[in-house]
Amino acid sequence: MTAGRPYRPVRDPLTRPIERHVPPALRSRAMHAMSAHAALGRFVLQHCTDCGAVTYPPRDICPACWGDLAWADQARGATILAETVIRTTTDLYFQAHLPWRIGTAALDAGPVAIVHLHRDLAVGDRAAMQLMLDKGGNAALFALPVQGEDPMADPQWREFVVPVHDRAVLVTDGDTALGKAVVRALVAAGAGAVFAGTSAPSVPALAADDPRRAAGVRQVPLDLTDGRSVARCIAQLGGPIDIVVNTARFVRPGGVRADAGLLHQKRALDLGVLGLLRLAEAVAPILAGRPAGAFVDILSIHALAGDARFAGFSAAEAARHSLLQSFRHEMRAAGVRVLAVFAGAIDDADHQSQPSPRVAPARLAQGVIDALALGREQHCVGDVARDLMDRWLADPATTLREQNG
């Protein structure tokens, strides 16, 4: 199973590598609120709780009546009013991406906004507005054609998402049901090379339908509980990695006082939490050098509100959720996207005792592909995760009680 790597022109080794920059980051609190919604893929604008007017850009009070503003989902439709091409700028990020098309769009929700324009849009066209995160992690309005080709063909759009096609991807614990499903989904999405980590003591022969037999997939020894194994794996990949998908997790039931299973909980923390640290330390410099690097971590939705039946595992997931926020902060300056893909119980051997609905590994894997293609920072797969996330966003304290009442 030798994996070809995606073809790339060889760079003159004597030239200096291109330094990467991200768009300006200094933003208001209201803008951060908009970015937090964009991270989840919501299309939101502020509306006045007094006069009802919808306003953009984000503000602290209603410009019409000085009333209070609240965020709400809005219609995505818009009409392009004007367009222009930026050909020069003092901003280092945009200098590297000129020329850049922007325009004004009359949003169906009311305001007129300055937006990034897809290359196929012209004045007078109807557009579907997307609230995206730029390379610096800040919300930006992007106008896509209502219908037409895959937006991925537009280099400007690709700056807001993480392309998978032709990219090199490392999947940790690629030998579990979830890991294999992620490998299969990456191959289907056209990844150029997929490295499937295996932590098993010995590598068994693969079944005929094992996705790791696919062309372009290679098994690599990788045990996140062993820092040396992680370092050696990364050193032996023989080239850069664009995307890392961390599927490693150790799930066992157990409470705090009742059936705590300390050894299991220790392993959940070692693999889930310290394993994430070992992995992040090893891959961060490689991802930072890539034009569209991304680190995807698959998290239990119980990272937000613990599940008392899986207390140790929930604690490990909560710790990972915390680490991911710090890692995201660290990687922002390099333009590397750090994604958390949330799910409830997965339909695998680890969750046999959990009631339905459980998320099929293949569906969760497709969720990873979708989250990358849509440019999300946080993405929920399955009703359980979406429902808990919605309740948690609305009222964390009540959700915590509901979960463990």
Binding site: P201, S202, V203, P204, D223, T225, D226, G227, R228, S229, L263
Partner: protein
């Protein structure tokens, strides 16, 4: 000088002039060294792990050291009687209580490498041991019995643990062979190159895991993951095997060496 003092002096002289060799029977303790894998419903053996504390750097400008962690049965290791349920009530059954006298014993090496090469599930029987004695002589009392399988040459490959769909496959003794060695030959213990004193499939025997059960139930020891048994004579070597003094410990990684007469050939 007394006779014993002369014996020790002669040993020191032999070590100094190389007429007595020291053979290392220990595998390197590394994160890669495989550990026994139990069915998933049981707790698992932790492999060796090492995290650097400092290496002449900000965390220790002039010194290098690591924190290490492992199971008591990781790498080349010693099994004390308390490791097995049959040995739970054996006096002095934990590694901290093993009497120092037992750290040094002579060994007899039984070569079953050809049989193991032909059949990776080779079972050593009492009849085979009696045939071996007819050829080589009686197994003396209070000796380590070391099973040479050349399995150590598989270290670093999947064939060392040799896991298949139905578990591990490696050679080992049956119950009658163990009773013969323990009760009729009064062995100190059994030393093997495989990851356990029992055969890979021994949990499926009619008398499951006979080596662990019979050795430890009778206060005998186990040595596992040994190397270089092919470099020892059949008779005449002396094994130095001193487990760590772990309070209440069931076993311990350790350095095992053999004293062998004759210069390296």
């Amino acid at each position: 000088m007394t006779g014993a003092a002369e014996t020790l002096a002669a040993l020191a002289g032999g070590l100094a002039d190389g007429t007595i060799r020291v053979v290392d029977l220990t595998n390197t303790l590394s994160p890669d060294f495989p550990v026994i894998v139990l069915p998933a419903e049981f707790g698992q053996c932790e492999p060796f792990r090492m995290e650097r504390v400092s290496r002449y750097d900000a965390d220790g400008p002039a010194w290098y050291w690591n924190n290490i962690s492992m199971n008591e049965h990781t790498g080349t290791h010693f099994d004390a009687p308390a490791h097995w349920i049959t040995g739970r009530d054996v006096p002095e059954g934990t590694v901290d209580r093993v009497v120092p006298r037992d750290f040094v014993h002579p060994a007899v090496v039984i070569d079953i490498s050809a049989e193991s090469a032909a059949d990776e599930d080779f079972i050593l029987t009492r009849a085979a041991l009696e045939r071996w004695e007819a050829q080589h002589g009686r197994i003396p009392p209070r000796h380590w019995v070391l099973l040479r399988t050349d399995w150590y040459k598989r270290v670093g490959t999947p064939e060392y643990l040799n896991l298949k769909d139905d578990g591990a496959h490696s050679p080992g003794p049956d119950g009658d062979a163990m009773r013969f060695l323990v009760h009729d030959r009064d062995c100190v213990g059994l030393g093997v190159e495989t990851v356990g004193t029992d055969a890979g499939q021994a949990s499926r025997f009619a008398e499951p895991l006979p080596a662990h059960s019979i050795l430890h139930g009778n206060g005998r020891f186990g040595l596992q993951c040994l190397t270089n048994l092919d470099k020892l004579p059949v008779f005449g070597s002396i094994i130095l095997a001193s487990p760590l003094k772990i309070e209440g410990g069931s076993g311990s990684p350790l350095r095992v060496v053999a004293l062998v007469a004759g210069r390296a050939g």
